[in-house]
Protein backbone atom coordinates (compact mmCIF):
# COMPACT_ATOMS: atom_id res chain seq x y z
CA UNK A 1 0.00 0.00 0.00
CA UNK A 2 1.11 3.50 -0.67
CA UNK A 3 1.72 5.11 2.73
CA UNK A 4 1.08 8.58 1.27
CA UNK A 5 -2.42 7.64 0.16
CA UNK A 6 -5.16 9.29 2.22
CA UNK A 7 -6.92 7.04 4.68
CA UNK A 8 -10.23 6.07 3.08
CA UNK A 9 -13.38 7.49 4.58
CA UNK A 10 -15.11 4.74 6.61
CA UNK A 11 -18.41 5.75 5.01
CA UNK A 12 -17.62 6.33 1.36
CA UNK A 13 -19.92 8.41 -0.75
CA UNK A 14 -23.00 6.30 -1.36
CA UNK A 15 -24.36 5.14 -4.65
CA UNK A 16 -27.46 7.19 -4.05
CA UNK A 17 -26.55 10.48 -2.24
CA UNK A 18 -28.73 12.00 0.45
CA UNK A 19 -31.25 14.11 -1.47
CA UNK A 20 -31.16 17.86 -1.02
CA UNK A 21 -27.65 18.07 0.41
CA UNK A 22 -24.47 18.40 -1.56
CA UNK A 23 -21.36 16.50 -0.72
CA UNK A 24 -19.59 19.70 0.32
CA UNK A 25 -22.35 20.55 2.78
CA UNK A 26 -22.22 17.05 4.10
CA UNK A 27 -18.47 17.24 4.64
CA UNK A 28 -18.91 20.55 6.43
CA UNK A 29 -21.54 19.05 8.73
CA UNK A 30 -19.19 16.15 9.48
CA UNK A 31 -16.48 18.60 10.48
CA UNK A 32 -18.97 20.09 12.92
CA UNK A 33 -19.60 16.70 14.43
CA UNK A 34 -22.91 15.97 12.75
CA UNK A 35 -23.10 12.76 10.77
CA UNK A 36 -25.76 12.78 8.12
CA UNK A 37 -26.41 9.50 6.42
CA UNK A 38 -29.01 7.40 4.74
CA UNK A 39 -30.47 4.16 6.01
CA UNK A 40 -28.92 2.40 3.04
CA UNK A 41 -25.45 3.67 3.84
CA UNK A 42 -25.73 2.84 7.53
CA UNK A 43 -27.15 -0.61 6.87
CA UNK A 44 -24.50 -1.49 4.33
CA UNK A 45 -21.75 -0.06 6.53
CA UNK A 46 -22.90 -2.33 9.32
CA UNK A 47 -23.16 -5.51 7.34
CA UNK A 48 -19.99 -4.92 5.33
CA UNK A 49 -18.01 -4.74 8.56
CA UNK A 50 -19.37 -7.96 10.01
CA UNK A 51 -18.97 -10.50 7.23
CA UNK A 52 -18.81 -13.87 8.93
CA UNK A 53 -17.07 -16.50 6.83
CA UNK A 54 -17.85 -20.19 6.92
CA UNK A 55 -15.13 -22.22 8.61
CA UNK A 56 -14.56 -24.39 5.62
CA UNK A 57 -11.17 -25.41 4.31
CA UNK A 58 -10.63 -27.51 1.23
CA UNK A 59 -6.88 -27.69 0.57
CA UNK A 60 -3.67 -25.68 0.72
CA UNK A 61 -5.39 -22.29 0.56
CA UNK A 62 -7.22 -23.12 3.78
CA UNK A 63 -3.91 -22.96 5.65
CA UNK A 64 -3.39 -19.43 4.39
CA UNK A 65 -6.98 -18.63 5.32
CA UNK A 66 -6.21 -19.81 8.87
CA UNK A 67 -3.01 -17.77 8.80
CA UNK A 68 -5.06 -14.71 7.83
CA UNK A 69 -7.17 -15.17 10.94
CA UNK A 70 -4.13 -15.44 13.22
CA UNK A 71 -2.30 -12.71 15.06
CA UNK A 72 0.00 -11.49 12.31
CA UNK A 73 -2.58 -10.72 9.65
CA UNK A 74 -5.54 -10.45 12.01
CA UNK A 75 -8.63 -10.58 9.87
CA UNK A 76 -10.49 -9.34 12.97
CA UNK A 77 -9.52 -5.81 11.96
CA UNK A 78 -12.06 -6.18 9.17
CA UNK A 79 -14.78 -7.73 11.30
CA UNK A 80 -14.47 -11.19 9.77
CA UNK A 81 -12.74 -13.17 12.49
CA UNK A 82 -15.90 -15.03 13.45
CA UNK A 83 -15.45 -18.20 11.42
CA UNK A 84 -18.70 -20.09 11.81
CA UNK A 85 -18.70 -23.89 11.65
CA UNK A 86 -22.36 -23.91 10.56
CA UNK A 87 -23.48 -22.59 7.17
CA UNK A 88 -26.68 -21.31 8.80
CA UNK A 89 -24.69 -18.62 10.62
CA UNK A 90 -22.31 -17.64 7.84
CA UNK A 91 -22.43 -14.82 5.30
CA UNK A 92 -19.41 -15.67 3.20
CA UNK A 93 -18.24 -18.88 1.60
CA UNK A 94 -14.52 -18.84 0.91
CA UNK A 95 -13.88 -21.71 -1.49
CA UNK A 96 -10.31 -22.23 -0.39
CA UNK A 97 -8.75 -24.95 -2.47
CA UNK A 98 -9.27 -27.57 -5.11
CA UNK A 99 -12.88 -28.62 -5.55
CA UNK A 100 -12.87 -32.22 -6.66
CA UNK A 101 -15.82 -33.84 -8.35
CA UNK A 102 -16.49 -35.86 -5.22
CA UNK A 103 -16.55 -32.70 -3.11
CA UNK A 104 -18.48 -30.41 -5.47
CA UNK A 105 -21.98 -31.59 -4.38
CA UNK A 106 -21.09 -30.89 -0.77
CA UNK A 107 -19.78 -27.41 -1.56
CA UNK A 108 -22.95 -26.50 -3.46
CA UNK A 109 -25.10 -27.95 -0.68
CA UNK A 110 -23.29 -25.82 1.89
CA UNK A 111 -23.90 -22.76 -0.28
CA UNK A 112 -27.60 -23.59 -0.51
CA UNK A 113 -27.78 -23.93 3.25
CA UNK A 114 -26.42 -20.44 3.84
CA UNK A 115 -29.06 -17.74 4.37
CA UNK A 116 -29.27 -14.60 2.23
CA UNK A 117 -27.49 -12.22 1.91
CA UNK A 118 -24.49 -14.38 1.12
CA UNK A 119 -21.30 -13.94 -0.83
CA UNK A 120 -18.79 -16.29 -2.37
CA UNK A 121 -15.06 -15.86 -2.81
CA UNK A 122 -13.09 -18.23 -5.03
CA UNK A 123 -9.70 -18.29 -3.34
CA UNK A 124 -6.74 -19.57 -5.29
CA UNK A 125 -6.10 -20.91 -8.75
CA UNK A 126 -7.83 -24.24 -8.14
CA UNK A 127 -11.14 -22.72 -7.08
CA UNK A 128 -11.00 -20.30 -10.01
CA UNK A 129 -10.15 -22.71 -12.80
CA UNK A 130 -8.73 -25.98 -11.50
CA UNK A 131 -5.30 -24.42 -11.32
CA UNK A 132 -2.31 -26.74 -11.62
CA UNK A 133 -4.61 -29.75 -11.33
CA UNK A 134 -6.83 -28.68 -14.20
CA UNK A 135 -5.88 -31.70 -16.29
CA UNK A 136 -6.88 -34.09 -13.55
CA UNK A 137 -9.86 -36.32 -14.22
CA UNK A 138 -11.32 -35.67 -10.79
CA UNK A 139 -10.95 -31.91 -10.55
CA UNK A 140 -13.76 -29.41 -11.10
CA UNK A 141 -12.45 -26.70 -13.38
CA UNK A 142 -13.68 -23.73 -11.43
CA UNK A 143 -16.38 -23.43 -8.79
CA UNK A 144 -18.13 -20.76 -10.89
CA UNK A 145 -19.61 -23.60 -12.92
CA UNK A 146 -22.05 -24.07 -10.05
CA UNK A 147 -21.90 -21.07 -7.72
CA UNK A 148 -22.30 -17.33 -8.32
CA UNK A 149 -18.80 -16.16 -7.42
CA UNK A 150 -18.51 -12.56 -6.25
CA UNK A 151 -14.75 -12.31 -6.14
CA UNK A 152 -11.75 -14.19 -7.47
CA UNK A 153 -8.42 -14.12 -5.61
CA UNK A 154 -5.60 -15.46 -7.79
CA UNK A 155 -2.54 -17.15 -6.37
CA UNK A 156 -1.33 -20.62 -5.54
CA UNK A 157 -1.95 -20.15 -2.71
CA UNK A 158 -2.78 -16.44 -2.37
CA UNK A 159 -0.95 -14.72 0.44
CA UNK A 160 -3.02 -13.78 3.48
CA UNK A 161 -2.66 -10.15 2.40
CA UNK A 162 -4.34 -11.05 -0.87
CA UNK A 163 -7.24 -12.56 1.05
CA UNK A 164 -7.50 -9.39 3.13
CA UNK A 165 -7.47 -7.30 -0.03
CA UNK A 166 -10.19 -9.51 -1.47
CA UNK A 167 -12.22 -9.02 1.67
CA UNK A 168 -11.86 -5.25 1.40
CA UNK A 169 -13.01 -5.40 -2.21
CA UNK A 170 -15.99 -7.47 -1.12
CA UNK A 171 -16.79 -4.86 1.55
CA UNK A 172 -16.73 -2.15 -1.12
CA UNK A 173 -19.07 -4.27 -3.21
CA UNK A 174 -21.46 -4.71 -0.30
CA UNK A 175 -21.43 -0.97 0.46
CA UNK A 176 -22.36 -0.19 -3.12
CA UNK A 177 -25.38 -2.50 -3.11
CA UNK A 178 -28.67 -0.58 -3.25
CA UNK A 179 -31.42 -1.72 -0.93
CA UNK A 180 -34.24 -1.15 -3.39
CA UNK A 181 -34.78 -1.84 -7.03
CA UNK A 182 -33.76 -4.81 -9.12
CA UNK A 183 -30.10 -4.70 -8.03
CA UNK A 184 -30.95 -5.14 -4.34
CA UNK A 185 -29.90 -8.35 -2.60
CA UNK A 186 -32.54 -11.08 -3.02
CA UNK A 187 -33.62 -11.03 0.63
CA UNK A 188 -34.80 -7.43 0.23
CA UNK A 189 -36.76 -7.94 -2.98
CA UNK A 190 -40.30 -9.06 -2.18
CA UNK A 191 -41.11 -12.24 -4.00
CA UNK A 192 -37.57 -12.68 -5.22
CA UNK A 193 -35.88 -15.91 -4.38
CA UNK A 194 -32.14 -16.11 -4.33
CA UNK A 195 -32.61 -19.46 -5.95
CA UNK A 196 -30.99 -22.68 -4.96
CA UNK A 197 -27.99 -23.71 -6.99
CA UNK A 198 -28.14 -26.99 -8.83
CA UNK A 199 -26.55 -29.73 -6.72
CA UNK A 200 -24.70 -32.05 -9.09
CA UNK A 201 -24.60 -35.80 -8.70
CA UNK A 202 -21.27 -37.57 -8.40
CA UNK A 203 -21.93 -39.99 -11.23
CA UNK A 204 -19.83 -42.89 -12.49
CA UNK A 205 -18.13 -40.79 -15.19
CA UNK A 206 -18.53 -37.15 -14.35
CA UNK A 207 -20.70 -34.77 -12.39
CA UNK A 208 -24.32 -34.81 -13.52
CA UNK A 209 -24.77 -32.14 -14.79
CA UNK A 210 -21.10 -31.24 -15.41
CA UNK A 211 -21.95 -27.55 -15.01
CA UNK A 212 -24.99 -25.43 -14.28
CA UNK A 213 -26.06 -24.20 -17.74
CA UNK A 214 -27.76 -21.15 -16.23
CA UNK A 215 -24.54 -19.97 -14.63
CA UNK A 216 -21.78 -21.10 -16.93
CA UNK A 217 -21.49 -21.95 -20.59
CA UNK A 218 -18.39 -23.23 -22.34
CA UNK A 219 -16.70 -20.40 -24.26
CA UNK A 220 -17.75 -20.27 -27.90
CA UNK A 221 -15.57 -19.36 -30.80
CA UNK A 222 -16.82 -16.29 -32.61
CA UNK A 223 -15.62 -16.08 -36.19
CA UNK A 224 -15.49 -12.72 -37.87
CA UNK A 225 -15.30 -13.16 -41.59
Amino acid sequence: MNPAAPIPDPTPSPAAPVPGISDAERAELRRQGILLTSIEELYNWGRSNSVWPLQFGLACCAIEMIAASMARFDIARFGSEVFRPSPRQADLLIVSGTVTKKMAPQVVRLWNQMPEPKYCIAMGACAISGGPFKQGYNVLKGIDRFLPVDLYIPGCPPRPEALLHGLMELQAKIRAQPLTGPAAPPHLRPGADGGECVIPDFGPHDLQPPHDPARWQPPRLIRTE
Binding site: G57, L58, P85, K102, V139
Partner: protein, 387 residues
Protein backbone atom coordinates in the same frame (compact mmCIF):
# COMPACT_ATOMS: atom_id res chain seq x y z
CA UNK B 1 -34.38 -58.33 6.56
CA UNK B 2 -35.23 -55.37 8.74
CA UNK B 3 -36.92 -52.46 7.03
CA UNK B 4 -34.72 -49.50 6.21
CA UNK B 5 -34.01 -47.49 9.35
CA UNK B 6 -35.89 -44.20 9.59
CA UNK B 7 -34.09 -40.97 8.84
CA UNK B 8 -33.77 -38.55 11.69
CA UNK B 9 -34.79 -34.90 11.25
CA UNK B 10 -31.11 -34.11 10.77
CA UNK B 11 -31.18 -36.05 7.51
CA UNK B 12 -28.70 -38.60 6.32
CA UNK B 13 -25.88 -37.37 8.55
CA UNK B 14 -27.43 -38.93 11.66
CA UNK B 15 -29.52 -42.08 11.54
CA UNK B 16 -30.54 -45.00 13.68
CA UNK B 17 -28.95 -48.34 12.91
CA UNK B 18 -30.61 -51.62 13.82
CA UNK B 19 -28.10 -54.13 15.07
CA UNK B 20 -29.40 -57.43 16.52
CA UNK B 21 -26.30 -57.81 18.67
CA UNK B 22 -25.96 -54.33 20.08
CA UNK B 23 -29.51 -53.00 20.22
CA UNK B 24 -30.17 -49.54 18.90
CA UNK B 25 -27.10 -47.78 17.55
CA UNK B 26 -26.67 -44.36 16.08
CA UNK B 27 -24.65 -43.62 13.00
CA UNK B 28 -23.07 -40.17 12.88
CA UNK B 29 -21.37 -38.84 9.79
CA UNK B 30 -18.61 -36.37 10.60
CA UNK B 31 -17.35 -34.53 7.60
CA UNK B 32 -16.41 -33.84 4.89
CA UNK B 33 -17.29 -30.36 6.14
CA UNK B 34 -16.43 -30.50 9.81
CA UNK B 35 -14.14 -28.14 11.69
CA UNK B 36 -12.26 -30.92 13.44
CA UNK B 37 -11.38 -33.22 10.57
CA UNK B 38 -8.38 -31.18 9.34
CA UNK B 39 -9.70 -30.85 5.83
CA UNK B 40 -12.20 -32.76 3.79
CA UNK B 41 -12.11 -36.08 5.58
CA UNK B 42 -15.19 -38.00 6.58
CA UNK B 43 -15.68 -40.40 9.47
CA UNK B 44 -18.83 -42.46 9.77
CA UNK B 45 -18.95 -43.34 13.44
CA UNK B 46 -21.44 -45.85 14.79
CA UNK B 47 -22.21 -45.08 18.40
CA UNK B 48 -23.51 -47.23 21.21
CA UNK B 49 -24.56 -44.56 23.65
CA UNK B 50 -21.51 -42.34 23.57
CA UNK B 51 -18.98 -45.01 22.70
CA UNK B 52 -17.74 -45.67 19.20
CA UNK B 53 -18.31 -49.28 18.15
CA UNK B 54 -17.47 -48.87 14.47
CA UNK B 55 -15.71 -46.18 12.54
CA UNK B 56 -15.51 -46.04 8.80
CA UNK B 57 -13.17 -43.50 7.24
CA UNK B 58 -14.13 -42.12 3.83
CA UNK B 59 -11.33 -40.71 1.70
CA UNK B 60 -11.07 -39.18 -1.70
CA UNK B 61 -12.61 -35.74 -1.29
CA UNK B 62 -9.31 -34.16 -2.28
CA UNK B 63 -8.13 -36.69 -4.84
CA UNK B 64 -6.25 -34.43 -7.27
CA UNK B 65 -4.80 -37.09 -9.57
CA UNK B 66 -1.30 -36.40 -8.40
CA UNK B 67 0.18 -39.68 -9.63
CA UNK B 68 -1.53 -39.58 -13.00
CA UNK B 69 -0.35 -36.02 -13.57
CA UNK B 70 3.14 -37.12 -12.55
CA UNK B 71 3.16 -39.70 -15.32
CA UNK B 72 2.15 -37.12 -17.90
CA UNK B 73 4.63 -34.38 -17.04
CA UNK B 74 8.39 -34.33 -17.18
CA UNK B 75 10.48 -35.18 -14.14
CA UNK B 76 11.24 -31.56 -13.38
CA UNK B 77 7.67 -30.38 -13.89
CA UNK B 78 6.49 -32.75 -11.17
CA UNK B 79 8.52 -30.89 -8.57
CA UNK B 80 5.93 -28.13 -8.00
CA UNK B 81 3.22 -30.76 -7.66
CA UNK B 82 5.11 -32.39 -4.80
CA UNK B 83 4.82 -29.08 -2.92
CA UNK B 84 1.08 -29.56 -2.91
CA UNK B 85 1.10 -33.10 -1.53
CA UNK B 86 1.65 -32.27 2.10
CA UNK B 87 1.21 -28.56 1.82
CA UNK B 88 2.63 -27.81 5.25
CA UNK B 89 5.97 -29.44 4.44
CA UNK B 90 6.88 -28.67 0.87
CA UNK B 91 10.63 -28.75 1.52
CA UNK B 92 10.70 -32.38 2.68
CA UNK B 93 8.45 -33.48 -0.17
CA UNK B 94 10.85 -31.81 -2.61
CA UNK B 95 13.78 -33.59 -1.03
CA UNK B 96 12.16 -37.03 -1.15
CA UNK B 97 11.28 -36.60 -4.81
CA UNK B 98 14.71 -35.22 -5.69
CA UNK B 99 16.28 -38.16 -3.86
CA UNK B 100 14.25 -40.66 -5.88
CA UNK B 101 15.19 -39.05 -9.20
CA UNK B 102 18.84 -38.76 -8.17
CA UNK B 103 18.87 -42.46 -7.35
CA UNK B 104 17.27 -43.19 -10.71
CA UNK B 105 19.76 -41.11 -12.65
CA UNK B 106 22.83 -41.78 -10.49
CA UNK B 107 23.18 -38.07 -9.83
CA UNK B 108 25.58 -36.86 -7.12
CA UNK B 109 24.82 -33.90 -4.85
CA UNK B 110 27.42 -31.37 -3.63
CA UNK B 111 28.20 -31.30 0.07
CA UNK B 112 26.89 -27.79 0.63
CA UNK B 113 23.57 -28.73 -0.96
CA UNK B 114 23.25 -31.68 1.42
CA UNK B 115 23.74 -29.32 4.35
CA UNK B 116 21.20 -26.86 2.99
CA UNK B 117 18.73 -29.70 2.53
CA UNK B 118 19.20 -30.80 6.13
CA UNK B 119 18.72 -27.25 7.38
CA UNK B 120 15.53 -26.84 5.38
CA UNK B 121 14.19 -30.27 6.35
CA UNK B 122 14.72 -29.63 10.04
CA UNK B 123 13.12 -26.19 9.77
CA UNK B 124 10.18 -27.92 8.11
CA UNK B 125 10.03 -30.39 10.98
CA UNK B 126 9.84 -27.50 13.43
CA UNK B 127 7.11 -25.93 11.31
CA UNK B 128 5.04 -29.10 11.09
CA UNK B 129 5.30 -30.11 14.72
CA UNK B 130 4.56 -26.58 15.90
CA UNK B 131 1.44 -26.45 13.77
CA UNK B 132 0.44 -29.91 14.94
CA UNK B 133 0.75 -28.88 18.59
CA UNK B 134 -1.46 -25.89 17.88
CA UNK B 135 -4.12 -27.83 15.98
CA UNK B 136 -4.13 -30.71 18.45
CA UNK B 137 -4.70 -28.41 21.39
CA UNK B 138 -7.36 -26.60 19.40
CA UNK B 139 -9.08 -29.97 19.03
CA UNK B 140 -8.95 -30.57 22.76
CA UNK B 141 -10.83 -27.34 23.23
CA UNK B 142 -8.10 -24.80 23.98
CA UNK B 143 -9.79 -22.51 21.53
CA UNK B 144 -7.45 -20.07 19.93
CA UNK B 145 -4.52 -19.40 22.21
CA UNK B 146 -2.14 -22.33 21.48
CA UNK B 147 -2.86 -22.07 17.77
CA UNK B 148 -2.06 -18.35 17.86
CA UNK B 149 1.28 -19.07 19.52
CA UNK B 150 2.03 -21.82 17.01
CA UNK B 151 1.18 -19.71 14.00
CA UNK B 152 3.32 -16.85 15.30
CA UNK B 153 6.33 -19.16 15.09
CA UNK B 154 5.16 -20.63 11.80
CA UNK B 155 5.25 -17.15 10.30
CA UNK B 156 8.85 -16.73 11.44
CA UNK B 157 9.86 -19.92 9.62
CA UNK B 158 7.79 -19.04 6.57
CA UNK B 159 9.60 -15.71 6.35
CA UNK B 160 12.85 -17.65 6.04
CA UNK B 161 11.37 -19.89 3.35
CA UNK B 162 10.04 -16.90 1.47
CA UNK B 163 13.34 -15.06 1.63
CA UNK B 164 15.06 -18.12 0.21
CA UNK B 165 12.64 -19.49 -2.36
CA UNK B 166 10.22 -16.68 -3.08
CA UNK B 167 7.13 -18.49 -1.85
CA UNK B 168 5.74 -18.97 1.61
CA UNK B 169 4.27 -22.42 1.30
CA UNK B 170 5.07 -23.83 -2.12
CA UNK B 171 8.82 -23.56 -2.13
CA UNK B 172 9.72 -25.75 -5.15
CA UNK B 173 13.30 -25.54 -3.99
CA UNK B 174 15.16 -28.80 -4.63
CA UNK B 175 16.54 -29.83 -7.98
CA UNK B 176 18.09 -33.09 -9.19
CA UNK B 177 21.68 -32.52 -8.22
CA UNK B 178 21.35 -29.87 -5.54
CA UNK B 179 19.29 -26.86 -4.62
CA UNK B 180 17.86 -24.11 -6.77
CA UNK B 181 19.55 -21.22 -4.97
CA UNK B 182 22.40 -20.64 -2.57
CA UNK B 183 21.37 -19.17 0.80
CA UNK B 184 23.04 -15.84 1.43
CA UNK B 185 25.06 -15.10 4.59
CA UNK B 186 22.24 -12.84 5.74
CA UNK B 187 19.77 -15.67 5.38
CA UNK B 188 22.02 -18.03 7.33
CA UNK B 189 22.40 -15.45 10.09
CA UNK B 190 18.62 -15.03 10.24
CA UNK B 191 18.18 -18.81 10.42
CA UNK B 192 20.73 -19.00 13.23
CA UNK B 193 18.87 -16.28 15.15
CA UNK B 194 15.60 -18.19 14.74
CA UNK B 195 17.22 -21.41 15.97
CA UNK B 196 18.67 -19.62 18.98
CA UNK B 197 15.36 -18.24 20.16
CA UNK B 198 13.18 -21.22 19.22
CA UNK B 199 14.10 -23.09 22.40
CA UNK B 200 12.64 -20.24 24.44
CA UNK B 201 9.39 -20.55 22.48
CA UNK B 202 9.25 -24.29 23.17
CA UNK B 203 9.81 -23.63 26.88
CA UNK B 204 7.07 -21.03 26.88
CA UNK B 205 4.68 -23.30 25.03
CA UNK B 206 5.32 -26.30 27.25
CA UNK B 207 4.99 -24.19 30.35
CA UNK B 208 1.68 -22.97 29.02
CA UNK B 209 0.07 -26.30 28.33
CA UNK B 210 2.11 -29.50 28.65
CA UNK B 211 1.38 -30.26 32.30
CA UNK B 212 -2.10 -28.81 32.20
CA UNK B 213 -4.34 -31.14 34.17
CA UNK B 214 -7.18 -31.05 31.66
CA UNK B 215 -4.83 -31.85 28.82
CA UNK B 216 -3.44 -34.83 30.74
CA UNK B 217 -6.95 -36.10 31.47
CA UNK B 218 -8.03 -35.71 27.87
CA UNK B 219 -4.97 -37.31 26.25
CA UNK B 220 -3.36 -39.84 28.58
CA UNK B 221 -4.60 -43.36 27.92
CA UNK B 222 -6.65 -42.16 24.93
CA UNK B 223 -6.09 -43.89 21.61
CA UNK B 224 -3.40 -46.35 22.65
CA UNK B 225 -1.53 -47.78 19.67
CA UNK B 226 0.28 -51.04 20.55
CA UNK B 227 3.74 -51.39 19.04
CA UNK B 228 2.88 -54.66 17.26
CA UNK B 229 -0.14 -53.13 15.54
CA UNK B 230 1.88 -50.07 14.58
CA UNK B 231 4.54 -52.17 12.92
CA UNK B 232 2.04 -54.44 11.18
CA UNK B 233 0.06 -51.53 9.82
CA UNK B 234 3.16 -49.83 8.43
CA UNK B 235 2.82 -46.78 10.66
CA UNK B 236 5.89 -44.56 10.51
CA UNK B 237 7.18 -41.34 11.91
CA UNK B 238 6.52 -39.83 15.33
CA UNK B 239 3.42 -41.98 15.68
CA UNK B 240 5.47 -45.17 15.48
CA UNK B 241 8.11 -43.84 17.85
CA UNK B 242 5.43 -42.82 20.35
CA UNK B 243 4.57 -46.54 20.54
CA UNK B 244 8.15 -47.28 21.53
CA UNK B 245 9.55 -48.57 18.23
CA UNK B 246 12.96 -47.12 17.56
CA UNK B 247 12.75 -46.52 13.83
CA UNK B 248 13.90 -43.26 12.32
CA UNK B 249 15.00 -43.22 8.70
CA UNK B 250 17.55 -40.53 9.48
CA UNK B 251 19.26 -43.21 11.58
CA UNK B 252 18.19 -46.37 9.69
CA UNK B 253 18.94 -45.20 6.15
CA UNK B 254 21.41 -42.49 7.00
CA UNK B 255 20.45 -40.65 3.83
CA UNK B 256 22.02 -37.29 3.06
CA UNK B 257 24.67 -36.42 5.59
CA UNK B 258 22.61 -37.29 8.66
CA UNK B 259 25.21 -39.77 10.03
CA UNK B 260 27.44 -36.75 10.70
CA UNK B 261 24.97 -35.24 13.13
CA UNK B 262 24.45 -36.59 16.63
CA UNK B 263 20.84 -36.56 17.74
CA UNK B 264 18.67 -38.57 20.05
CA UNK B 265 15.44 -40.26 19.01
CA UNK B 266 12.63 -39.64 21.50
CA UNK B 267 10.51 -42.72 22.17
CA UNK B 268 7.14 -43.04 23.87
CA UNK B 269 6.29 -45.62 26.50
CA UNK B 270 2.51 -45.91 26.16
CA UNK B 271 1.62 -45.07 22.59
CA UNK B 272 -1.29 -42.85 23.63
CA UNK B 273 -2.21 -39.41 22.39
CA UNK B 274 -0.11 -37.70 25.04
CA UNK B 275 2.97 -39.66 23.97
CA UNK B 276 2.39 -38.72 20.36
CA UNK B 277 2.23 -35.08 21.40
CA UNK B 278 5.31 -35.27 23.63
CA UNK B 279 7.43 -37.19 21.10
CA UNK B 280 6.93 -34.32 18.69
CA UNK B 281 7.77 -31.69 21.27
CA UNK B 282 11.00 -33.54 22.09
CA UNK B 283 11.83 -34.08 18.43
CA UNK B 284 11.74 -30.35 17.91
CA UNK B 285 14.44 -29.90 20.53
CA UNK B 286 16.59 -32.51 18.78
CA UNK B 287 16.01 -30.73 15.47
CA UNK B 288 17.33 -27.55 17.03
CA UNK B 289 20.57 -29.39 17.85
CA UNK B 290 20.90 -30.63 14.26
CA UNK B 291 20.20 -27.13 12.96
CA UNK B 292 22.83 -25.57 15.17
CA UNK B 293 25.44 -28.08 14.04
CA UNK B 294 24.51 -27.75 10.36
CA UNK B 295 24.55 -23.95 10.42
CA UNK B 296 27.91 -24.00 12.21
CA UNK B 297 29.61 -26.53 9.91
CA UNK B 298 28.09 -25.42 6.60
CA UNK B 299 30.86 -25.89 4.03
CA UNK B 300 31.51 -23.66 1.04
CA UNK B 301 31.23 -24.65 -2.59
CA UNK B 302 28.39 -24.87 -5.08
CA UNK B 303 24.87 -25.90 -4.12
CA UNK B 304 24.19 -27.39 -7.52
CA UNK B 305 26.17 -29.96 -9.45
CA UNK B 306 27.20 -28.08 -12.63
CA UNK B 307 27.16 -31.31 -14.63
CA UNK B 308 23.55 -32.06 -13.71
CA UNK B 309 21.11 -31.90 -16.57
CA UNK B 310 17.71 -30.32 -16.06
CA UNK B 311 16.40 -29.69 -19.57
CA UNK B 312 15.92 -32.74 -21.74
CA UNK B 313 16.40 -34.89 -18.69
CA UNK B 314 15.93 -38.56 -19.64
CA UNK B 315 17.14 -41.12 -17.10
CA UNK B 316 18.05 -44.62 -18.23
CA UNK B 317 15.36 -47.30 -17.95
CA UNK B 318 15.11 -48.58 -14.42
CA UNK B 319 13.34 -48.01 -11.16
CA UNK B 320 14.15 -46.23 -7.92
CA UNK B 321 12.56 -45.64 -4.55
CA UNK B 322 13.67 -42.61 -2.58
CA UNK B 323 12.45 -42.12 0.96
CA UNK B 324 13.20 -39.72 3.75
CA UNK B 325 11.97 -39.21 7.27
CA UNK B 326 9.43 -36.47 6.76
CA UNK B 327 7.81 -34.76 9.72
CA UNK B 328 4.80 -37.06 9.40
CA UNK B 329 6.67 -40.27 8.68
CA UNK B 330 8.27 -42.04 5.77
CA UNK B 331 7.57 -40.03 2.64
CA UNK B 332 8.71 -41.96 -0.40
CA UNK B 333 8.55 -41.71 -4.16
CA UNK B 334 8.73 -44.74 -6.42
CA UNK B 335 9.65 -44.04 -10.02
CA UNK B 336 9.89 -46.33 -13.02
CA UNK B 337 11.65 -44.94 -16.05
CA UNK B 338 11.35 -46.29 -19.58
CA UNK B 339 13.96 -43.90 -20.88
CA UNK B 340 11.47 -41.22 -21.85
CA UNK B 341 11.10 -37.66 -20.61
CA UNK B 342 8.24 -38.65 -18.27
CA UNK B 343 8.25 -41.36 -15.62
CA UNK B 344 6.49 -44.51 -16.76
CA UNK B 345 5.11 -44.99 -13.27
CA UNK B 346 5.02 -42.47 -10.50
CA UNK B 347 3.92 -43.52 -7.06
CA UNK B 348 3.87 -41.69 -3.75
CA UNK B 349 4.09 -43.43 -0.41
CA UNK B 350 2.15 -41.00 1.77
CA UNK B 351 2.78 -41.29 5.51
CA UNK B 352 -0.50 -39.62 6.43
CA UNK B 353 -2.67 -42.15 4.61
CA UNK B 354 -0.87 -45.17 6.01
CA UNK B 355 -0.86 -43.76 9.54
CA UNK B 356 -4.56 -43.09 9.16
CA UNK B 357 -5.37 -46.75 8.51
CA UNK B 358 -5.19 -47.51 12.24
CA UNK B 359 -7.77 -44.83 13.07
CA UNK B 360 -10.59 -47.29 13.80
CA UNK B 361 -8.41 -49.39 16.12
CA UNK B 362 -7.47 -46.28 18.06
CA UNK B 363 -10.99 -44.93 18.35
CA UNK B 364 -12.96 -48.03 19.35
CA UNK B 365 -14.44 -47.66 22.82
CA UNK B 366 -13.80 -43.95 23.01
CA UNK B 367 -16.22 -41.07 22.71
CA UNK B 368 -16.66 -38.84 19.69
CA UNK B 369 -14.79 -36.03 21.43
CA UNK B 370 -11.84 -38.39 21.90
CA UNK B 371 -11.96 -39.45 18.25
CA UNK B 372 -11.40 -35.82 17.31
CA UNK B 373 -8.26 -35.66 19.46
CA UNK B 374 -7.00 -39.01 18.18
CA UNK B 375 -7.41 -37.86 14.61
CA UNK B 376 -5.55 -34.66 15.49
CA UNK B 377 -2.68 -36.62 17.01
CA UNK B 378 -2.30 -38.78 13.89
CA UNK B 379 -1.40 -35.57 12.05
CA UNK B 380 -2.94 -35.94 8.62
CA UNK B 381 -2.91 -33.58 5.70
CA UNK B 382 -5.58 -34.37 3.18
CA UNK B 383 -3.52 -33.33 0.20
CA UNK B 384 -1.28 -36.26 0.99
CA UNK B 385 -3.96 -38.72 2.10
CA UNK B 386 -5.96 -38.41 -1.10
CA UNK B 387 -3.20 -37.18 -3.41
Amino acid sequence: MNPAPPLSPAGASVRAVQDPFHGDLLEVSMGPHHPSTHGVFRMIATLDGERIVRLKPVFGYLHRNHEKLGENTSYLASMPYTDRLDYLNSMTNNWAYALAVEKLAGQAVPERAEYVRIILAELTRLLNHTCLAGFLLQDTGCSGTPLMYAFREREAILDLFEALSGSRMMCNFQRFGGCRLDPSPDWLAAAARLVERYGAFLDEYEELITVNEILLARTQGVGVLPAALAVNAGVTGPMLRASGVNHDLRRVDGYGLYPRFPFRIPLGAHGDTYDRYMVRMLEMRESLGILRAALRDLPGGPVFDPKAKLRGFRPKPGEAYGRIEGPKGEIGFYLVSDGGPNPYRYRVRPPSLINLTVLEDLCLGHTVADAVIILGSIDIVLGEVDR
